[in-house]
């Protein structure tokens, strides 16, 4: 899985391309940990290029969410595929990790 990080005025925009699974999940944890350690505590993980997510990928998102909140910020997800939405809804995690239509919308209402 490939990740890119772009610093926007109000949040760090992380884009993940590929499969967020047992291989990709540890990479996401590393990328978000680095972003938060560098002082960006408001993070959007853009899953527009994420074709598949399993429970290990979801676990990584939850871990990253906790990390961002512990640092005083938040993590939100955007642009999810039907497959990712299925995982969120089957686990009821869409209530905690609510998908936003786009990265720019994720913190727009704050």
């Amino acid at each position: 899985m490939q990740f890119t990080v772009e610093q926007k005025p109000t949040f760090a925009h992380i884009t993940g391309t590929g499969r967020l699974n047992m291989v990709g999940a540890p990479r996401l944890r590393e990328v978000v940990a680095d972003v938060v350690a560098d002082g960006s505590t408001h993070v959007v993980v853009d899953l527009g290029g994420t074709e598949f997510m399993d429970s290990s990928g979801l676990g990584a998102l939850i871990g990253c969410l906790k990390l961002a909140r512990q640092a005083g910020g938040d993590l939100r997800i955007a642009n999810v595929s039907p497959q990712v939405r299925m995982v969120l809804e089957l686990t009821s995690m869409h209530r905690v990790l609510t998908p936003y239509a786009s990265a720019d919308e994720a913190f727009a209402g704050d």
């Binding site: 499969r19 699974n21 047992m22 291989v23 598949f52 399993d54 429970s55 290990s56 979801l58 676990g59 990584a60 939850i62 871990g63 906790k66 039907p82 497959q83 299925m86 995982v87 089957l90 686990t91 009821s92 995690m93 209530r95 905690v96």
Partner: protein, 143 residues
């Protein structure tokens, strides 16, 4: 009874890389079984990956040799089936009736997901191998 219209199989070390490679097998299966609706593909693929991932994380070797993972996939006219072998694993039990964990737990959702995604899941000991059997009926996508 009708025979499955497509089959794919993989055997390799019980690692995250072998589980990741299953996506290629599933794509090849769908190429050969174009009748399977997208919603059934998504659900079945996730169930297979969750079960195979459970082997990688939880299976314990019965001896010094590392565990091997074999996954046999079959797509029939009305049914999708997967048989997943934990080769060289010690006898084990899995709780197939478990609920989803708390929202802040980072693991423990795989078995509950499998239950939600397939119509039948069985975990049994066959000889010296633990075997998962997953089955999902497939039909036309809802309009």
């Amino acid at each position: 009874m009708t025979e499955p219209s497509a089959r794919r199989s993989r055997r390799g070390p019980a690692t995250a890389q072998t589980v990741d490679a299953l996506h290629g097998d599933l794509e090849a299966l769908w190429d050969a079984a174009g009748h399977v609706p997208e919603s059934d593909r998504m659900a079945f693929a996730l169930a297979v990956v969750e079960a195979a991932g459970n082997v990688v994380v939880h299976a314990v070797p019965a001896a010094e040799a590392p565990i091997e993972l074999e996954v046999d996939l079959a797509a029939g006219p009305h049914r999708l089936e997967a048989t997943i072998y934990e080769i060289g694993a010690a006898p084990a039990q899995v709780d197939l009736g478990g609920a989803m964990p708390a929202a802040d737990d980072e693991s423990g959702r795989g078995l509950a997901l499998i239950q939600a995604l397939v119509s039948r899941v069985v975990f049994e000991r066959h000889g010296d191998t633990n075997v998962w059997e997953l089955c999902r009926e497939c039909g036309p996508d809802p309009a």
